[in-house]
């Protein structure tokens, strides 16, 4: 009898699909919407400075903290917690609040009567700054208890963990390779041990609290081996007529500085940058154009998107995508 029950199974495939898609839905966050993301994925958003990375994070955060429905108005959000670890220490909360206000005002026309909704949403956004890697490690170690407490107090789960600018302590940690003092089996605070611990903690958190991790990374484009060297390599490869069948080491357009253990944690990679062209959407407005390209999984083409500034200075910028695969 027990054996037969074991063969019969717990649920059908259809039941499982419907359960998983309601408990762990796919997240389609523009402009990362080409590849559906699920909880448990770790996305790395790489780009040179001022290439709209933080803007993408803000948009994703607003989408996550809004409720699905409030007072009969549909907002289409996820009503989950967003934790933002700011390692760059340059986050501007005003941009987030402007964007949230804009999203609330869109179907309603005004902010009147919606103060409560605004406050409830803002309370679902948690923020912390870390000024060095020891603080970062301390935050990660105590995050599990923090999340348990939030769940107990407000009964809200986490959906998104954002790390703004992974790798800034890279230089400081590199310079601080101590030799272990005291006993022989003491680990020293080197770059390697810190990176290993960070990755380990994130993995453990993903097991206990399924969530999507998005980390931004500041890179320098085009600097792989110096421009002349790269051109020469390409020319020689083409001239000799050898085409490598498997491009196993993907030719990245930037130099990777994160240690391999971090790269093994990443499941998705996307590269964004500002392009030199400007897109004329309306005759009086010129917006700067940004390019995004999925590197892992490699999709081979580039998307263009703009950050729209409504009117004047303190306006809520939002992302709109004219989908034009080039």
């Amino acid at each position: 009898m027990a054996a037969k029950r074991w063969i019969d199974g717990d649920e059908t495939a259809a039941e499982m699909l419907s359960r998983v898609s309601s408990e762990r839905p796919f997240l389609l966050l523009p402009p990362l919407h080409r590849v559906p993301l699920r909880v448990g994925n770790v996305v790395e958003l790489a780009g040179p400075s001022s290439s709209a990375k933080t803007q993408i994070l803000i948009q994703a955060a607003v989408n996550c903290i809004l409720p699905r429905e409030w007072n009969g108005v549909h907002y289409g959000g996820l009503e989950r917690l967003v934790m933002f670890i700011d390692l760059d220490c340059r986050f501007d909360i005003l941009r987030l609040s402007e964007m949230l206000k804009h999203k609330i005002m869109e179907p309603n026309g005004s902010m009147h009567d919606h103060e409560e909704l605004f406050a409830a949403c803002m309370r679902r956004f948690m923020y912390v700054r870390c000024y060095d890697s020891l603080e970062f490690l301390a935050t990660l170690k105590t995050l599990h208890h923090r999340l348990k407490r939030e769940k107990a107090m407000h009964n809200v789960n986490i959906q998104l963990l954002m790390i703004d600018s992974i790798g800034p302590f890279h230089w400081v940690d590199r310079g601080s390779t101590f030799f272990p003092l005291g006993s022989h089996n003491r680990k020293c605070l080197s770059l390697q041990s810190i990176s290993e611990t960070v990755v380990q903690e994130i993995r453990k958190l993903l097991v206990l609290h399924p969530m999507l991790v998005i980390a931004t990374k500041e890179i320098v484009l085009g600097n792989v081996y110096g421009t002349d060297g790269a051109k020469q390599n390409k020319y020689m490869l083409e001239a000799s007529g050898i085409r490598s069948i498997t491009s196993s080491s993907q030719q990245l357009p930037y130099r990777e500085f994160m240690p391999p253990i971090w790269q093994s944690l990443i499941t998705h990679k996307i590269l964004v940058r500002a392009s030199d062209d400007h897109l004329l959407i309306r005759p009086d407005q010129e917006n700067s154009l940004y390019l995004s390209e999925w590197l892992l999984p490699s999709l081979g083409y580039q998307d263009k998107f703009v950050v729209k500034d409504e009117h004047g200075m303190r306006s809520p910028p939002c992302l709109i995508i004219p989908p034009m695969p080039t």
């Binding site: 909360i93 310079g175 003491r186």
Partner: protein
């Protein structure tokens, strides 16, 4: 972070038994705790005869670690802090203030980039005098190249406040000048010393006189350039640490931080800011100053600002 022996006094649960257990795994201080796997340690603790006490000790250490990092704040608290505690401080020059939408923001690191004699020091002295003469707080001025000029400060203060020559005016002038504290620093380690001392004073509120409102480092590039060598050097580490320390002071204590940087030749002969790609991302606001040849006017343009597009230009005269 403290070694366990020091913690024993405050937290009696961290007794010698706990310390020997941890030492057997190579953990001698709270820092070591951060890079070890806690679940593994707890599993080892279960096998020990005094497992309950050890687990309590581990929990105690976790709560100590919880205080090591900055506290978590939610969106409403952060918004409240930005709107009510971080004010906008005018620089004293109308053209610049108009460009920046009011002036310099507290909690943000503003960088002035420009070739030599483009007016960077003048803008710094102007901002310092304006703040001091309006009695908004004290100014800490770190001078790296002996360019701090008390005559120029006196001139600016005279411009901002009236009746300089009366008795009351003279006393007022004394008070204003006492609000500006100037330190000469000639290497980065002295700067770290001064900043750490300032942080300590502000934390323990031993500040003589008023609250520090403005911190100026003129120029930070002359402190960092000598140590930026090739890849293996400590220069980059010190540069990023300096950036973090300045941003920490700005945010935690609500002060305006203003630094100056010079330019170097870039591609195709167009000058670019010095200190490279890593420093590019450190400042919140980046302003480029340039001089018009032949006359007194300077132009200032926005290279980077969190809430406006770059490229806006203003002209001013100091």
């Amino acid at each position: 972070m403290a070694p366990f022996k020091a913690l024993e006094l405050e937290y009696p649960i961290i007794d010698s038994n706990f310390q020997t257990f941890c030492a057997s795994h190579g953990i001698l201080s709270v820092e070591d705790f951060l890079i070890h796997d806690l679940y593994e340690l707890a599993a080892f603790a279960k096998q020990q005869p005094t497992s309950e006490k050890l687990e309590q000790g581990i929990t105690q250490i976790l709560s100590i670690i919880d205080e090591q990092h900055q506290p978590w704040v939610n969106g409403m608290e952060l918004l409240d802090d930005t709107l009510h505690r971080k004010h906008v401080v005018p620089t004293g020059c109308e053209g610049v203030d108009l460009l920046l939408g009011g002036g310099l923001h507290e909690g943000q690191l503003t960088e002035l980039v420009g070739p030599s004699s483009s007016g960077k020091t003048q803008v710094c002295l102007l901002a310092a005098s304006y703040l001091a003469s309006k009695h908004m707080g004290t100014v800490v001025y770190l001078d790296t190249g002996n360019s701090f000029s008390t005559q120029r400060i006196a001139e600016f203060v005279g411009r901002f406040s009236n009746h300089m020559f009366s008795q009351a005016g003279h006393r007022n002038f004394q008070k204003v000048m006492n609000n500006i504290l100037c330190h000469s620093v000639f290497d980065i380690f002295t700067m770290f010393n001064v900043l750490h001392q300032l942080e300590f004073n502000m934390k323990s509120q031993l500040q003589k006189g008023g609250q520090v409102r403005l911190l100026i480092v003129d120029s930070i590039s002359s402190l960092i350039t000598p140590i930026l060598g090739n890849i293996g050097s400590q220069g980059r580490a010190l540069m990023t640490s300096a950036g973090y320390l300045l941003k920490k002071l700005a945010h935690e204590h609500n002060i305006v931080v203003l630094v100056t940087n010079h330019t170097v030749g870039g591609e195709r002969g167009i000058p670019k800011p010095a200190l490279g790609q890593i420093w590019k991302t450190v400042a919140h606001v980046r302003l480029l100053l340039s001089a018009d040849h032949g006359n007194d006017t300077r132009s200032i343009s926005v290279l980077k600002h969190p809430s406006m597009a770059s490229g806006k230009v203003a002209r001013f005269r100091v």
